[in-house]
Symmetry: C2
Subunit: 334 residues, 2 copies
């Protein structure tokens, strides 16, 4: 039931004014080393944690940022939260993880309300909020710094971080080719996502380099969900030149392929190699013969927070790198 210690308590204990404590807290220059140490010792002794409320109210920084997300897979959301949180922790900044509903009429108002209520210094958007026009407009209107993680489209519009999807798909396809596959099926992702065409491009580029002809019948559209993976698998497995490997543009669809393969009594990977992107480790756990590209989601999120802090600190005036591309880790064989 001890009352919280304030900056006054620290100042008294250290025998300085509160302004000096404030200086130490904010790592301002012009504090003598021994003064700083005295203050730091007092802070520690009193286990002082400054009130964010008071800081937000008095200063121009709240030391808080918000991470806004919507219904992506729990694994994805978890990885994003972890990455952002890791960087926030280093920076002594609080992360406000905010669920949102991109389909809601009021989403822009809610984001606006969040900003007004919490005074957050900046915002990180994760998919699919990255492509929610009302939110983007609201943020732009307010001029609040924000960074998008793997936006589905328009990478260059604003600051964003994303992995090199072309290279990742190329890596995976090359891996399959090196395994001896020559007839490789491909399931394209949802047409609204930029990643979809990029992954398709990577697939084609790898085939091309290996001197394998591109065969349209081996490429099937998909929607990034389990059901479309099932449909695509059925179709591809009944194609005259039946593929010995199927590469799905994400792991929900890959799971669909696995299920179909299982139902047809195929042995993996002898009868069929299945490859995908790895959002949900459990798919591997339950059914190991799956080769995946591990998406660097956590690292992307970390990088996003990092980029955001630079913007908040106004680093952009000295030629900020607005586009940060994180290479996917190389294809990982099971």
């Amino acid at each position: 039931m001890t009352a919280r210690n304030t900056i006054n308590d620290v100042a008294r204990a250290a025998g300085v004014s509160i302004k000096t404590v404030s200086r130490v807290l904010n790592k301002e220059r012009y504090v003598r080393a021994d003064t700083r140490e005295k203050v730091e010792a007092a802070m520690l002794a009193l286990s002082f944690s400054p009130s964010l409320a008071a800081r937000s109210l008095a200063g121009k920084r709240s030391h808080q940022i918000a991470l806004i997300y919507d219904n992506h897979s729990p694994y994805y959301i978890h990885a994003v939260q972890e990455g952002v949180w890791a960087r926030c922790r280093e920076a002594g900044v609080r992360m406000l993880a905010q669920p949102a509903d991109v389909a809601s009429e009021t989403i822009a108002a809610e984001v606006g309300g969040l900003i007004d209520e919490t005074h957050v210094d900046g915002i990180i958007l994760s998919s699919p909020v990255t492509d929610c026009a009302p939110v983007l407009a609201e943020l732009e209107r307010r001029g609040i710094p924000f960074v998008r993680i793997s936006p589905g489209t328009n990478h260059a519009l604003t600051s964003s971080v994303y992995m090199d999807d072309v290279q990742a798909a190329d890596d995976m396809t090359t891996h399959l080719i090196n395994l001896g596959h020559r007839v490789i099926g491909f399931i394209v992702g949802h047409p609204n996502h930029m990643a979809s065409e990029q992954r398709l491009f990577g697939y084609r580029r790898a085939l091309d380099r290996a001197g394998i002809d591109y065969e349209p019948g081996l490429v099937h559209p998909g929607e990034f969900d389990f059901a479309s993976g099932v449909v695509a698998a059925h179709s591809l497995l009944s194609y005259p030149r039946r593929p010995t490997a199927i590469f799905a543009s994400n792991d929900d669809m890959a799971a669909g392929v696995l299920t179909v393969a299982h139902s047809k009594g195929l042995t993996l990977p002898d009868d069929l190699s299945v490859a995908g992107f790895d959002d949900t480790p459990l798919a591997q756990l339950v059914w190991p013969p799956l080769t995946t590209i591990r998406q660097p989601t956590r690292d992307l999120a970390f990088a996003a927070a990092n980029l955001l802090f630079e913007k908040v600190d106004g680093v952009e005036h000295r030629r900020l790198q607005h586009e940060l591309v994180v290479r996917a880790s190389t294809a990982r064989a099971s």
Copy 2:
């Protein structure tokens, strides 16, 4: 770039004093209906969102609560966040989702720092933070209201919400018996978790009621993880009276059983029925022949937030129900 609207702007627009706006905001009594309406109209027109920083600083409530969690499965964390958030939303309270590391030496200090920094009105603990002694002690010391979701032990120590594990395991076992199974293997959970013995008890109670003798050889210890599921499955499947069904105390272990069954070429559910608790829907997706108890995680979290608000509002003085038990939904056949 529009500046935020403050309570002063609203007061001016409505032609009242800021105190009256404050009254409306806090739903205090003694505001004439037409005055209230005027104020509410002004709030809406200015899309006013009160600064939580100012409210926290001036008042005794911050209108924020924290949800603290550590490494449980992303699915679990996601469900918990969703449930808590849903209730917070209704109450106009902000949820601060906070990752923590129960193994860290400094976890109590970090939680204390969180409380001091954010002025949160209360805290929700999810497993395994529910059973982290330093955190519990710190919370107790500060006298801050908190609620635990499915604590591993000591349910009655403090306010907590949890499902009826005995009944759930009984339901599932009964379901298997109704399916015709008479030799049912059981994999016990981690010994540190109260749920483990409760589920075992439910299993035994159902057998008992059906007049089936309890057979110790059909019960194998486990640790709630994939690997121990694999070990247990191997053991159970080589038991002289080989079980026709295996009921695992959680789904990670059930996944282990599935993998073993697969590797032995068993057809499910003809050769073996596998049952478990459902934290991670993907297990079902990839390999449908699995029967699960759906844990009401989201509802528990919702109930936890609800209980916390009652404590924050001081309802406990009038005989608060400190223990809230949410029944598991009935066993769901695949």
